[in-house]
């Protein structure tokens, strides 16, 4: 039996500690996914909390056809998109984000802002949410095509095509920016 199976069984049998274990295990993954879509730390945390409440409420419906991680990703993706619609967050805000960290940002965000990564982050902010999410899931999170298809509910071939286009678009944006800089 895998660790995830054990955690699920424990949660369903009413062990309060077990759900905390699950939150600790997946909080970074969920928060990062929400942050990459919402581009705002406070909103991302709010959405991430909602994700875990949904996970808690729906855990008994988890049929184990996919891994728990993929299932949580799917909930996180949909929740973040819902929050984005409700709050009318525009990911383009990242593009306008100041080079210097504001008080809300922590050391990890600063770490992320190495020259190259900051450039990429801004490039990603110019992509459509779905395209940026595909790149995020495939390259940054190492999810397979099947898993991404499961998370986003796009067909596998559609994921491939969109990922290709997203990569192309990102490369275009980055090379344009580089040309502007030189």
């Amino acid at each position: 039996m895998t660790t995830d199976d054990q955690i699920i069984r424990n949660i369903i049998s009413g062990e309060q500690h077990a759900f905390r274990v699950l939150v600790n295990e997946y909080e970074d993954l969920v928060f990062t996914m929400c942050y990459r879509i919402l581009a705002h730390r406070h909103l991302a945390e709010e959405a991430a909390q909602d994700v875990f409440v949904k996970v808690y409420r729906k855990l008994h419906l988890f049929d184990q056809r996919s891994s728990l991680k993929t299932w949580i990703y799917r909930i996180a993706y949909r929740t973040a998109i819902d929050h984005q619609r409700k709050k009318r967050v525009r990911t383009i805000e990242l593009e306008k984000a100041p080079m210097v960290a504001d008080s809300q940002d922590d050391a990890q965000v600063l770490m992320e802002r190495s020259d190259e990564q900051q450039r990429i982050r801004r490039g990603l902010a110019q992509l459509k949410t779905i395209d940026a999410t595909l790149i995020n899931l495939y390259y940054m999170e190492g999810q397979s095509m099947e898993e991404i298809s499961e998370i986003t509910k796009l067909s596998k071939s559609n994921v491939k095509v969109r990922l290709h286009r997203a990569r192309h678009k990102l490369a275009e944006i980055l090379s344009r920016k580089q040309m502007e800089a030189t």
Partner: protein
């Protein structure tokens, strides 16, 4: 790395450089500038891979635990009330409708070939009650489903 993925990156790099893929491979060997640009494309890919995950603020798990519906035991009865019993419930309701209708169907001599429309009409008066039963069952089922999946 999967082949197609590697191909796409090579293709992407060649496209950015304005060359065909076939000539790109050779040019990569001959042209140090091109090789340098190709390397930067590869670096982009590596950088994407190395993007760090972010962490929520301290005490995130506590805040989540406070937001959970009261009583973790709620999951226990929710689990017991999974979809299977709900389908039994719907099956039972359909059976009830069938039984109600068949009891009302003219029996014995009344069910002979000379059964007139009045008898059928009498029987059909049971239909609304049966449909009310059925619709109620579906409504309760949906309600249960909503509570379970809320």
């Amino acid at each position: 790395m999967k082949n197609w993925e590697s191909d796409i990156w090579r293709y992407l790099a060649s496209e950015l450089m304005g060359t065909e893929l076939e000539s790109f491979e050779q040019a990569l060997k001959d042209d140090p500038i091109l090789a340098d640009k190709y390397e930067s494309a590869q670096r982009l890919k590596r950088n994407l891979k190395d993007f760090p995950r972010l962490s929520p603020n301290e005490g995130f798990a506590n805040r989540v635990m406070q937001k959970l519906p009261a009583g973790l035991n709620r999951n226990l009865w929710v689990q017991k009330l999974n979809r299977k019993p709900a389908w039994y419930f719907l099956g039972g309701a359909v059976l009830l409708v069938v039984v109600t209708l068949s009891i009302g169907w003219p029996q014995g001599s009344a069910a002979s070939s000379d059964m007139d429309w009045t008898q059928i009409w009498q029987w059909s008066t049971q239909l609304p009650l049966s449909f009310v039963c059925l619709i109620s069952a579906v409504f309760v089922l949906l309600l249960i489903d909503r509570v379970v999946t809320r």
